[in-house]
Assembly symmetry: C2
Homo-oligomer: 359 residues x 2
């Protein structure tokens, strides 16, 4: 978002966890503090035209207070709650008529057993709040449910395990005055519950299915009154779509738009929260592939640049300035062109080199 | 360059004229100082892997001292001098066999008269050092030369006035280990001696002329031992090319590469000065057009965003955070696609809106 802000001459100030954090490395005037600190958020809001987020772990109550005090907070707390609490999300999506897996709010183990016996085992259990990247999500057999050794507090969200053929994501941006634009529908490929690869557009998706997915994105954005970027993660099941998760912020799947599309999700998010007209979302080349660097065998992945850049001069590299930890999202690469298989090979090869592959 | 550095996880520190300057707005850890301050440059160099520039107005002697003290300075002072002193430039290009206008170093008015009588009036006079954007350049008639009311110090560079049909620029990047890559040859359109518009690639340029121009770029980069981005401005005369000016840094004409090409001149400059392999320079769409915002009728050009972004959702906007002054380069816009005339119209329209055109 800092990169996009430079182009538009938008001044960004950020609340950062430490003075050496990823964000602080690239945003002048970063303020060190935690997202739960109401005074820190108020300080940011008082000096800004608008306060926005790059994750959902922000107190909804504090945001309500800031809005009540006249500060612009986008997306607003009424919308954001549906991305913060998965039970609220399911309830709201149900009210909007958006296709979802069968789900239930469980208050105790008996509810879990009843839901699984009804829908068939295994089932999916989710903590309503605080989960991300597969954390706070479990696949449960009847035995797991009977034993119930999760240290989660109740209530718990239960969902049927959808026999999906693949996962899609639709990204849309909406601004307060109502304009909505969506990017081409993406295919996301997860490994161990974490996004590993994104294909844009989702290959082989019928125009009808693409329109349906975009329609769901627009319906959710309008129905919830979202401002900024909204990512709707979906399962494709026999040509039908059901919604898996929501995010109200620039989303990992949308990193592909930085190099792949006329307007990136970050530029679009800035335009949207400032209530400026949205940019064109068309794709620069027939296909764009993004792959995540999840941990690295190298202490410093930039040490792989001589090999990486020599071997793959057309790959765009994005590293986040984070300390290496196993499985951590340290960066991503994007490659655009016409031959999807070749692009996927190049993206995978780039990630292998950044991971320290000796070949 | 700050935007490109974010993606590559390259840490940039900059010497800035003031704490609120354009660069300081986007580069954390900027140091306030002037480019003529040897201690300030030494301080930067001591904490960096490499010291580089975004203008040539830096003491060559100080750079020599820094190199002697073991600091990496790229481009090096031996190359940079040819972009700092136009008489040195002409001499070096002549030694390399690069086609140039006829030229002479004049030590007094008699030399000026003799050169003009030989080559034909009017002639071009240039201050060897410190000129930019048409400053330090004059077209002289014989009467102007006889009267000689320029307050320039001698020597002065004299050049024949070339009857060019248009101006081209070739951008190349070279890294110390020798790799060179060039972008497609650009056409530049000047108004009042200042670059107003850039077309990429130069329309209607024959493959032979394009190869010739790229060959000149490579010859100059290798012959002068340039590191980083080199811009070679040329005149096209009856299908032949003669070199007008050199710049050894990311150049205004190359701003078109940010949105128009796989690797921008800024990313390439960072790669080159760090001696990393260079990126692909192919064009994303058949044509890219860049237009400069030179001054503005608006006190704050961002106030034009609601109209600009609504009317032209596919135009990419870059404003530099500079205070508005008449004729000042405040930003640029880029638009890419297949219909060159339509792109030029859109770019011109975007600039008119940023300039406050009431229509």
């Amino acid at each position: 978002m800092a990169q996009a802000a430079v182009g538009l001459q938008v001044h960004v100030t950020a609340l950062v966890e430490s003075a050496t954090s990823s964000t602080a490395q690239v945003v002048p005037d970063s303020v060190v503090g935690v997202a739960s600190d109401a005074d820190a958020l108020r300080g940011l809001a008082e000096n800004a035209d608008v306060l926005t987020f790059e994750h959902e772990h922000v107190s909804n109550e504090v945001l309500r207070d800031l809005r009540a005090a006249g500060h612009a907070v986008e997306p607003g707390p009424d919308a954001l709650i549906a991305a913060q609490d998965k039970i609220v999300m399911r309830r709201r999506l149900g009210e909007l008529g958006v296709p979802c897996p069968r789900w239930r709010e469980a208050a105790e183990v008996a509810d879990v057993l009843a839901f699984g016996d009804e829908t068939g085992w295994p089932i999916i259990a989710k903590t309503p709040r605080g989960g991300y990247d597969g954390k706070g999500v479990r696949v449960l057999s009847r035995e797991d449910a009977e034993r119930w050794d999760l240290d989660w507090s109740w209530p718990v969200l239960l969902e049927e395990k959808v026999p999906f053929t693949r996962e899609l994501a639709v990204l849309v941006a909406r601004r307060p005055s109502g304009e909505i634009r969506s990017w081409p529908v993406l295919q996301t490929i997860q490994r161990d519950g974490v996004c590993a690869e994104v294909l844009s557009p989702a290959p082989g998706l019928s125009p009808t299915a693409a329109r349906q997915a975009e329609g769901v994105g627009r319906l959710v954005a309008e129905g919830l009154g979202v401002t900024g970027v909204l990512a709707v993660e979906m399962f494709e099941v026999d040509g039908d779509l059901v919604v898996n998760e929501l995010a109200m912020r620039p989303h990992n799947s949308g990193h592909v738009t930085i190099d792949g599309h006329t307007t990136s999700q970050f530029e679009q998010h800035l335009r949207a929260v400032l209530d400026l007209p949205l940019g064109a979302t068309d794709q620069r080349e027939p296909f764009a592939v993004m792959a995540n660097l999840l941990g690295s065998g190298l202490a410093d992945p930039t040490s792989a640049y001589p090999r990486l850049l020599a071997e793959l001069p057309h790959v765009k590299v994005h590293l986040y300035g984070k300390e290496v930890r196993p499985g951590r999202k340290l960066g991503h690469v994007t490659v655009v062109g016409t031959d999807l298989d070749a692009l996927r090979r190049d993206a995978a090869r780039a990630i292998a080199i950044l991971d320290g592959d000796p070949r």
